[in-house]
């Protein structure tokens, strides 16, 4: 109250099970168990909040995201993951309220975005990789705790007469269950809207019997049969999982300075140039070679570096408004790596497919980054194949029309649905929403395209010649940086996702947008707002005017 929001520094988004503070990851044949065991005093800002009641902050979610990725890459034997808690009578109380209340607006938004990406990643692991998730709620799952459970294929809750599932955000905090809860209730679990309305305003939620009736959970066991019941459920889920023959590969840490990605900050702190370099080697073409190369193979390493760079841009460099996306290097090698990986994946190699899925998630992270993105195609660029997706993800693409026609881009079948957006369709399809012929024509052009051709096909925004190039770019950049960052974020988010919505896209669009609006409103964060006053001796006072 009255005090300045605190800055949260995130040193690294890489971690390792050996260093987990809050999760216990264990393996038993085809079943992995991820048990939440929050160390209260080990939050990212321990002086400002304690992670009571198994509540989480970004540090906890970084571990969760790491664990899910590791299960996908390092443990092909795993077919089911049990999400549970190692603490008695509490599964998880959701995001830590004091952490939220003392964070900057930008951090809150990015925290929610990251946690949402982690949760969509859990669902992606199930639908795409056949790794099933069982939420085994051994105690109350409140707010973000229940939202985490909602990502699982099945939810079971202990029936002990007191443990409940609940979404108390609206009645207790004056904000939304913002990690997908509202969306998954009605879209994923198809719970009737009026029932969902009752549930979301009932702070204490429902215990097992009623929760089962309302389809908020799938099953329950009394305490005495809990362990056996969960074991049995996990085994049944594992039986529906996909076969992935071992061994896996180790997820090596991603640390700056990167090998394939460079991030260059302009002096004023508002502009960044992010460049992805092409590989300088031949791709692994057999399953064994792919395993030998492991996480250092270009297709994986370069994209993981891009991912890490994006996260640092989001959390650390909040003043950056515009990111110039660039590429450099041998386009042929990019294509060769793409082709080799696609072939292995098509031949049924789970690891190759897993790498493609990872790249798809990272490109979605790019779509969901609240910075203006301009792709710059210039001499030495290699916007081809998978890297061409970066231009399609960009808000604008500037391509130099050089005299010799050596500056080119090239589409491949990589743009034909291999890397879907959160709306479930390819970026190319979204770009040509009402012009499927246009999309098809672009895909037919398998040769490198010079600027005029690319422009004619509608693949680049502007193609200035070398006389205009520098000035055009300078002006575009200066103009962009002069506009309201809020309006730009809103505008970009509305323009990027043409087409029908999915559960995922609604979470990042509708749910997050409303949450971010509420996060700014006095009723939540004003001096007398509900979020501000939570845990304080005073109760909130609302401005009851509806908009």
């Amino acid at each position: 109250m009255g005090s300045e929001p605190k800055i949260t520094r995130v040193e690294s988004f890489s971690t390792h099970p050996d260093r987990y503070r809050h999760w216990k990851l264990s393996f038993d044949g085809p079943v992995a168990t991820l048990a939440l065991d929050i160390q209260e005093g080990n939050g990212l800002r321990p002086d400002d909040y304690e992670l009571k009641q198994n509540s989480y902050d970004l540090g906890v979610d970084i571990e969760l995201a790491d664990a899910v990725e590791r299960i996908r890459f390092e443990h092909p034997e795993v077919k089911a993951v049990v999400l549970t808690s190692a603490q008695d009578r509490i599964f998880c109380a959701g995001a830590n309220i004091k952490m939220l209340a003392t964070s900057t607006h930008g951090f809150k938004v990015n925290f929610c975005r990251y946690t949402n990406e982690t949760r969509c990643g859990i669902e992606d692991a199930s639908t795409q990789s056949g790794i099933r998730f069982l939420a085994a709620l051994n105690g109350t799952a409140a707010g973000g705790g229940y939202e985490l459970a909602l990502t699982a294929d099945r939810i079971v809750l202990v029936d002990d007469g007191s443990s409940a599932v609940s979404l108390p955000e609206v009645p207790l905090l004056g904000v939304l269950p913002g990690t997908g809860g509202l969306t998954r209730l009605v879209d994923k679990r198809a719970i009737r809207r009026d029932v969902a309305d009752l549930f979301c305003t009932k702070a204490e939620g429902f215990r097992a019997r009623d929760a089962r009736k309302l389809n908020l959970i799938d099953g329950s066991f009394p305490r005495s049969r809990w362990e056996d019941g969960v074991k049995q459920e996990a085994a049944q889920l594992a039986a529906t999982g996909s076969d992935r023959t071992g061994p896996g590969i180790e997820l090596t840490p991603v640390v700056a300075p990167y090998t394939w990605v460079s991030v260059e900050h302009a002096e004023d702190g508002r502009l960044v140039t992010l460049t992805v370099r092409a590989p300088d080697d031949d791709p692994p073409t057999t399953a064994d070679a792919l395993r030998a190369a492991g996480a250092s193979t270009w297709a994986m390493a370069a994209f993981r570096e891009l991912d890490d760079a994006l996260l640092h841009l989001r959390f650390t460099f909040d003043r950056v408004g515009l990111v110039l996306l660039k590429t450099s290097g041998d386009a042929e090698r990019v294509l060769a790596h793409d082709r080799a990986l696609a072939k292995l994946a098509a031949d049924g190699d789970w690891l190759a497919r897993e790498m493609e899925l990872l790249r798809a998630r990272i490109l979605r992270r790019l779509d969901n980054t609240a910075k203006s993105l301009f792709a710059i195609v210039e001499p030495g660029s290699c916007f081809v194949g998978s890297l061409f997706e970066m231009t399609l993800a960009a808000d604008r693409t500037y391509m130099l029309e050089d005299e010799d026609g050596e500056v080119t881009v090239q589409l491949t079948e990589a743009s034909d649905g291999r890397f879907p957006m959160s709306t479930g369709i390819s970026r190319l399809k979204a770009r040509f929403l009402n012009d499927p012929e246009g999309a098809a024509k672009a895909l037919e052009a398998t040769e490198p395209l010079d600027a005029p051709s690319a422009f004619d096909l509608g693949l680049v925004t502007l193609a200035p010649d070398d006389i205009d190039w520098e000035d055009e770019l300078r002006i575009a950049i200066e103009e962009r940086l002069s506009l309201s960052p809020d309006a730009l974020t809103g505008m970009e988010q509305n323009l990027r996702f043409a087409g029908a919505e999915t559960c995922d896209s609604k979470i990042f669009g509708r749910l997050s947008a409303w949450q971010n609006w509420i996060f700014q409103r006095p009723n939540a964060v004003g001096d007398e707002g509900a979020l501000t006053l939570y845990g304080h001796p005073t109760r909130p006072k609302f401005d009851f005017r509806r908009t």
Binding site: D160, A203, P222, R223, S224, G535, H536, P537, R539
Partner: protein, 470 residues
């Protein structure tokens, strides 16, 4: 329907014309009786017991004595008389009209408060259900049953609120109150102390001294509530609670007296040689039950407690009589917080410290009980004294839980705590010994060897009176 409710259920809430409550009676009351037969005093349902029944809230009306079989006990519904023009006494709504119906915005909170309190009532009956088999005297047996039927009435009083004011949710919660079971792995009672075993009479007396005393303070805080029906219900319950505390306090005192007496007789000076209970053993039981009961007040620093106060639902002990500032937004309470291995004083906003304020009142009350015990010990001519451990010792809830302290409240390591556990808390061997002493003594006026007789009987009767017709 032709049932005279007022005859079966003495009340002052106009039962015979309240349709909601009649529905409650038709559905819940039979279930309550089933529960009582299943979980109430085992083996004593058909016996005549000399019990007190409340038939009205007047001076003489709440204490009518006579023989009754427990299933026939008339569990009544009584609220103290309504105070005209009563206002909310504290919090953000101070000086507004007290609520006669549930305020929508506080419905969930109120329901939680009532359910948590209500859950303790049947729990203790369940915990104590086998004690009748080992009663040290008919006098004690009767007191046990008096406590039991009144806990039953308290349950019914809380259920009256749930049925009368909380609609379908309230009715479901009322059903759950009969479904949970003390100590049951699958359906445990809400609060931990009410899932502990009560296998012997020393435990029973400690429980009624310390754990029932928590009830007194909870009821006292709720008796201040801005929700008028709750306040009036709790006020009446408090009058009955006093007897339970009396049973506990005098029970422990009689064990202490007898222990000292037997120690004097024994050539070794050890009460155990003559089948008594050592005062040192009593001290360990005190340590155990006092600290378990401290947990019931909730965390020292609590946003729930702040909300309960702010919303005018739960006040401080004797809020209206003892405080002038009923908003309590400016004041702070100093508190010893354990941080980085040492105790530091912290100022906590008073509203967040409400649990701790109530606990402090309780601690003072317990201290006066201990003083009485020590006076008895002095009279018996021993130097032994009972002491209350620090509020930091042996805690499972609140800011000291998870750290270790000795009974004086000094931080110790886990190893030190474990090394001293047998010196501070009852050992299995001591529990087994106390259990071995438990055998029934049903002859009027006669006492088991390990306990001294009471000073006087109940309701002006002699100690020799046949309190239960065995």
């Amino acid at each position: 329907m032709g049932i005279d409710y007022s005859e079966r259920i003495p009340n002052n809430v106009d039962l015979s014309s309240d349709r909601r409550l009649q529905r409650a009676l038709e559905k819940w009351q039979p279930a309550f009786l089933d529960w009582w037969m299943d979980m109430g005093p085992e083996g004593w349902q058909a016996k005549d017991v000399y019990l007190r029944t409340a038939v009205s809230v007047d001076k003489g009306g709440w204490a009518n004595f006579g023989y009754v079989q427990m299933p026939e006990y008339r569990w009544g519904i009584f609220l103290t008389e309504r105070e005209e023009g009563r206002k909310v006494g504290f919090g953000d709504h101070a000086d507004e009209e007290a609520w006669q119906t549930v305020p929508g915005e506080y419905r969930n909170m109120l329901q939680r408060i009532i359910v948590t309190q209500a859950d303790t009532e049947p729990a203790s009956v369940e915990q104590q259900r086998y004690l009748g088999a080992t009663a040290p005297s008919l006098y004690d047996l009767r007191n046990l049953f008096q406590v039991n039927v009144e806990e039953g009435r308290h349950l019914w009083a809380m259920v009256y609120l749930l049925h009368g004011y909380f609609g379908r949710d309230g009715r479901e919660e009322a059903e759950e109150l009969l479904a949970r079971r003390a100590g049951d792995e699958d359906k445990p009672r809400i609060l931990d102390a009410f899932n502990q075993q009560c296998p012997d009479w020393l435990t029973f007396f400690c429980f009624t001294t310390f754990t029932d005393r928590d009830g007194k303070y909870q009821l006292g805080a709720l008796a201040e509530s801005g929700f008028d029906p709750l306040a009036r219900t709790c006020r009446f319950m408090l009058t009955e609670e006093a007897h339970h505390l009396f049973v506990g306090q005098t029970g422990v005192e009689r064990i202490l007296r007898r222990g000292v007496e037997l120690a004097k007789e024994a050539p070794s000076g050890d009460a155990r040689d003559l089948g008594g209970i050592r005062p040192a053993t009593v001290q360990k039981y005190v340590n155990y039950w006092y600290t378990y009961s401290l947990d019931l007040f909730g965390s020292e620093i609590s946003s729930n407690a702040a909300d309960f106060f702010a919303s005018g639902l739960k006040g401080r002990w004797q809020e209206m009589r003892r405080y002038e500032d009923h908003v309590a937004l400016e004041a702070h309470v100093p508190m010893q917080v354990y941080e980085d291995g040492r105790l530091v004083e912290k100022l906590v906003p008073m509203r967040n410290a409400m649990n701790e304020l109530l606990r402090s009142e309780y601690v003072r009350d317990c201290e006066s009980v201990v003083e009485k015990w020590n006076k008895a010990l002095e009279q018996e001519g021993t130097d032994f004294r009972i002491t209350l451990p620090s509020t930091r010792f042996h805690r499972r809830q609140g800011i000291y839980a998870g750290s270790h302290f000795d009974p004086a409240g000094n931080p110790v390591t886990e190893e030190q705590f474990e090394a001293n556990r047998a010196a501070w808390l009852p050992t299995d061997e001591e529990r087994a010994y106390v259990a071995s002493l438990m055998s029934a003594c049903y002859e009027p006026g006669k006492m088991a060897n390990w306990i001294a007789p009471p000073r006087r009987g109940i309701d002006g009767q002699t100690v020799e009176f046949e309190y239960v017709r065995v």
